[in-house]
């Protein structure tokens, strides 16, 4: 495990490096120079060198980066060298779509259960993953190790559900509800605010038209 402190700005860029390195591995590329990576990622070679210097151990200048080594090291930093068990709270369209993403599993994120209150959904399964009643959350979390709860509930129900999850021992929430959660500081929250993203797109469309 790399011990050196890495800045938040670098950390935010790591998933993107990880994604490009995976593509290189899939193509059978063993080494890549910062210039070649720069051309692919459309980031300056200088930034790539600065970012990747944080991970060290890449041999001499002129030989480029060892793709597999870099991929593994970044994976460790991102916590992808161990499994994370996930539950989805809110088994509506978005919850089901996320449960259907097999790619998350390839990265070590294992979906173990979905929860809802809708009687039409309870008892069904998604890729073999059961949809249970939210009243069973308590028992389920006592019997299963769960690292991450995905919150795919309407805005009005999300805050109380998040508080309940935290009271049952959940420390990490992937929040798709359209609000900011107020939770204790030791709970990690990552937001996916789709409406915010769509508004950003809309802004850029207007700006683009104005510049024409």
């Amino acid at each position: 495990m790399v011990q050196k402190k890495i800045s938040q700005a670098v950390i935010r860029r790591l998933p993107r490096y990880y994604r490009y390195l995976r593509d290189l591995l899939d193509e059978g590329t063993e080494r890549i120079s910062s210039n070649e990576l720069s051309a692919r990622m459309k980031v300056t070679a200088s930034q790539i060198r600065q970012d990747l210097n944080n991970f060290g151990g890449f041999g001499q200048q002129g030989y480029g980066y060892n793709v597999q080594y870099l991929y593994d090291e970044i994976g460790k930093i991102l916590g992808l060298d161990c499994h994370h068990n996930i539950i989805v709270v809110g088994a509506g369209n978005m919850g089901q779509a996320l449960a259907n993403y097999v790619n998350f599993e390839k990265r070590g994120f294992i979906m173990t259960g979905l929860f809802d209150v809708n009687p039409d959904l309870i008892g069904k399964t998604i890729r073999g993953i059961p949809i249970l009643h939210v009243d069973d959350l308590d028992t389920f979390l006592k019997e299963h190790d769960v690292d991450i709860a995905v919150l795919t509930l309407p805005k009005g129900e999300a805050e109380s559900a998040a508080e309940k999850l935290v009271s049952l021992g959940i420390h990490a929430i992937w929040n798709f509800a359209h609000l900011d959660l107020n939770l204790p500081k030791d709970v990690v929250v990552e937001n996916v605010h789709l409406s915010d993203s769509l508004m950003q797109l809309s802004y850029n469309i207007v700006k683009n038209k104005t510049n024409e």
Copy 2:
């Protein structure tokens, strides 16, 4: 329309302001001070004053902001004062989930068609929105004004689909595929990289455990 140039950093924060102002309107709040907004949004009052100064017209100090006026002005900046017609290319789980979000429609984003190659899906509808064959894209785009294409295709199919959409006149893409698109500069792309977001969460879980 506000003419003053607004920095990208402020622009990125606007959807969040817009969301909080909508909540205030729904609660019947007509005016709010930067201090009250600061407490709700967990941003310093000084940053709020700086950000919102870009929009002017809020009366005297001590009276707070006119919520409706601010909401409307930010809406205009974000291009939410006009409708945007949307199509979804890739009518799998994620595409269907997005087509089911009625909240997008409330913000003026109107879903007009979904496209896929899967014969089991073609001919069906989602909330009355038809799922058509991708071969019909050409005709559909000739007959309908479409502002935004949502790309919810597997990685391997996304790049060529995006190029096709652009060749058919699409200038804005909301990209859910797990890759960065290489498109002409006049095409606006907003990415939702869910795996990147999940990796960020995973990183913060590991960091949180290390700090305990």
